[in-house]
């Protein structure tokens, strides 16, 4: 019963947020003089003046801004997200967006997996050996990751693993882009499609291309996760039920993994969710540095060109993603902590 209410309330928030977000972006994009006139993506040089007038009337470009907003909403509901500028060959904005989105998803999944795989153990070790040498080492690693400029780390990785490795004759990783090989589309997510069609050559190639950018992303956030896990773990280890577990004569390892961990991970789950959501927004800088054909890279170009149509669909999808991920996180929360379930 409660879950139902919860979901409904979340959906309402989502709609509210979507409206406000869209209005802000719309206003920012169309309301200010920019290099491209808003109707530029809809026309091409061969059109006559009447045809141009036609387009303008059709999409309401001649009306005041607030009215334009409603024209725009109408367009969206019809599936017309507008066209992009010359930077994307004037293709429809949603086509451009969804062509690049799967790559961002790939990166997000891998980045999150690495973050979890390294960040959580780091935090646990830090907490168990609190204030001793392993803790200090972990702390420096965690904070170093957190303090690293994203544009810098990507290049360092490329420098070492691509350039110098090949210079020294070592096997090296590709420096940029995604795999050039072909793969048949099923889900749209390249590496998944590769697995599903048994195209192992592709999977391997894509995987190699994914390693550096994913690691670059992960390095920066695993520190934060590790600190949260550490703090949470320390808090849990202070609890009475841990003393109880020890007094039962349970082995240390059992106490930590069966009793402490489940409790400690609860706050970490929210963080992981937030992180995954923000990655789905496209890690702009990492995609830029590695020429990864994801949505973030496209958004960057869109901003530079003042292309509001693309930015709008981008913001929209991102808002939906954030609210959905939050919802999923809450469900996982309820799964982990029975107290919430039965409330």
């Amino acid at each position: 019963m409660k879950l139902y209410e919860y979901v409904i309330r979340r959906l309402i928030t989502l709609i509210f947020v979507l409206f406000v977000v869209s209005f802000i972006v719309f206003y920012l994009a169309r309301g200010f003089p920019s290099a491209i006139s808003p109707w530029a993506p809809y026309i091409h040089p061969k059109m006559t003046t009447e045809q141009i007038e036609q387009v303008i009337k059709e999409h309401g470009f001649d009306k005041p801004l607030t009215e334009q907003y409603f024209y725009w909403i109408r367009d969206i509901l019809r599936g017309d997200w507008g066209l992009t500028g010359t930077w994307a060959n004037g293709r429809p904005a949603n086509e451009v967006f969804f062509r690049h989105f799967p790559y961002t998803v790939e990166l997000a999944i891998f980045g999150t997996i690495i973050t979890i795989a390294i960040g959580i153990p780091l935090g646990i070790v830090s907490a168990i050996k609190n204030n001793r040498l392993p803790d200090h080492i972990c702390r420096v690693i965690a904070l170093a990751g957190y303090s690293t400029p994203s544009y810098w780390f990507g290049f360092i990785l490329q420098l070492i693993f691509f350039f110098y490795f090949s210079l020294w004759g070592l096997p090296h990783l590709p420096s940029s882009g995604a795999s050039d090989l072909e793969v048949t589309k099923i889900t749209g997510i390249p590496i998944l499609d590769g697995l599903l069609t048994g195209n192992l050559a592709f999977v391997q190639d894509e995987f190699l291309h994914l390693i550096l950018p994913s690691f670059s992303l992960a390095f920066i956030s695993l520190g934060f996760l590790a600190r949260i896990v550490r703090a949470s773990m320390l808090e849990v280890l202070r609890q009475d039920y841990i003393i109880m577990a020890r007094s039962k004569g349970l082995k240390d390892r059992v106490v930590i993994y069966r009793h402490a961990l489940k409790n400690a991970l609860i706050p970490a789950v929210t963080l992981i969710g937030l992180f995954f959501a923000s990655l789905l927004g496209g890690a702009m800088i990492t995609e830029y540095v590695f020429s990864w054909p994801g949505v973030g890279q496209q958004a960057l170009r869109a901003v530079m060109q003042g292309d509001s149509n693309f930015l709008l669909i981008y913001s929209f999808v991102f808002a939906i993603v954030v609210v959905s991920v939050n919802l999923v996180v809450d469900i996982i929360y309820a799964f982990l902590d029975p107290r919430i379930r039965y409330q």
Binding site: V17, S34, Y146, S147, P149, I156, F163, G281, I285
Partner: protein, 319 residues
């Protein structure tokens, strides 16, 4: 009536002084944090003295912006330098010594980095302080007043959280032009919601405490309670967050510069300097490596201090 409130405040003051003494004691014990503080102070000193040590005009080569590349020293590395990058690097055999090589304009990278430090720190400080103050006040009001105002402010922060932060800053900057002021404003817009949420949570729990009830019973007004009692007690996590954010904001600021939003291409700023080396990462790696490294150490120092502060201010450790 005044006397009783005065007693409460005197008691609070004494308790707070004792707290601070204890916290400094713990702080000093943590070697890592002390290192961080030392480095942070070092950077602050450099920031303050930078324009004295290095002539700021060196950042803008002769004849700039018309005659952009006057020197024949672009992307050069000293031939007799300790570090050897490989054969693809252009070597400089001239009389001057560039400890960290030269950048695309032929400027001494080492000197440019020194000039860049105050730019980054200063902007980061302004942004952080403004975002913190604004966010904290809004959050405190939301938490204390509650009801519709709280809902409203929380929805607003929701909206800001739903934006990918870099995009919002970029859009803003793209719309309003590439000046330092717009960039600062853009980042502030993205950063303040965290403080609002944080402060709201703190105020909500402080509100329930007995001393607030006592003060109300003594007839002290709401605003006074909020400003003089609740906020000072709830401020610790904000301080931690602000210190760590100094490290974070400086990263965002330089990242935006890196992406091309600097007001002038020659501005000495760590991200901007790194952007110059983007196309030359393999044959002139120092242009990216050293500014980035400086940024890392600077940010790390502040994060260490903030992290140490967080450990120290953890109320459960205060036994």
């Amino acid at each position: 009536m005044q006397g009783q409130v005065g007693e409460v405040r005197k008691g609070e003051l004494e308790a707070r002084l004792a707290d601070i003494k204890y916290m400094l004691h713990i702080f000093r014990k943590n070697a890592l944090v002390m290192v961080g503080t030392a480095i942070a102070l070092f950077f602050i000193v450099i920031a303050l003295l930078a324009n004295i040590i290095v002539d700021p005009k060196l950042a803008y080569p002769e004849g700039y912006p018309n005659n952009m590349y006057p020197f024949e020293r672009k992307y050069m590395w000293n031939a007799n330098h300790l570090i050897q990058w490989g054969t693809q690097v252009a070597l400089y055999h001239g009389p001057e010594f560039f400890p960290l090589g030269t950048d695309g304009w032929g400027r001494d990278l080492f000197k440019m980095i020194i000039l860049a430090i105050p730019v980054d720190l200063y902007n980061a400080a302004i942004i952080t302080v403004t975002a913190a103050v604004f966010g904290t006040l809004l959050g405190a009001i939301a938490g204390y007043v509650g009801g519709k105002i709280d809902e409203l402010i929380m929805r607003v922060t929701d909206v800001f959280f739903a934006f990918p932060s870099l995009v919002l800053a970029l859009v803003f900057a793209a719309m309003f032009g590439r000046t330092l002021e717009t960039l600062r404003l853009a980042i502030m817009l993205v950063w303040w919601p965290t403080y609002a949420r944080l402060m709201r949570g703190q105020v909500l729990s402080e509100k329930e405490k007995l001393y607030v009830e006592a003060l109300r019973a003594l007839g002290v007004g709401h605003i006074r309670i909020l400003l003089r009692h609740i906020i000072p007690n709830a401020i610790y996590p904000i301080l931690v967050q602000a210190t760590m954010d100094l490290g974070g904001v400086v990263l965002t600021f330089s990242a935006l510069m890196f992406l091309g939003f600097s007001p002038s291409p020659a501005l000495p700023e760590l991200g901007n300097l790194a952007a110059d080396g983007y196309a030359h990462v393999f044959d002139a790696p120092w242009v990216i490596i050293f500014p980035g490294l400086t940024m890392l150490v600077m940010s790390l120092a502040f994060n260490l201090v903030g992290d140490g502060l967080r450990d120290v201010l953890d109320p459960r450790l205060r036994r």
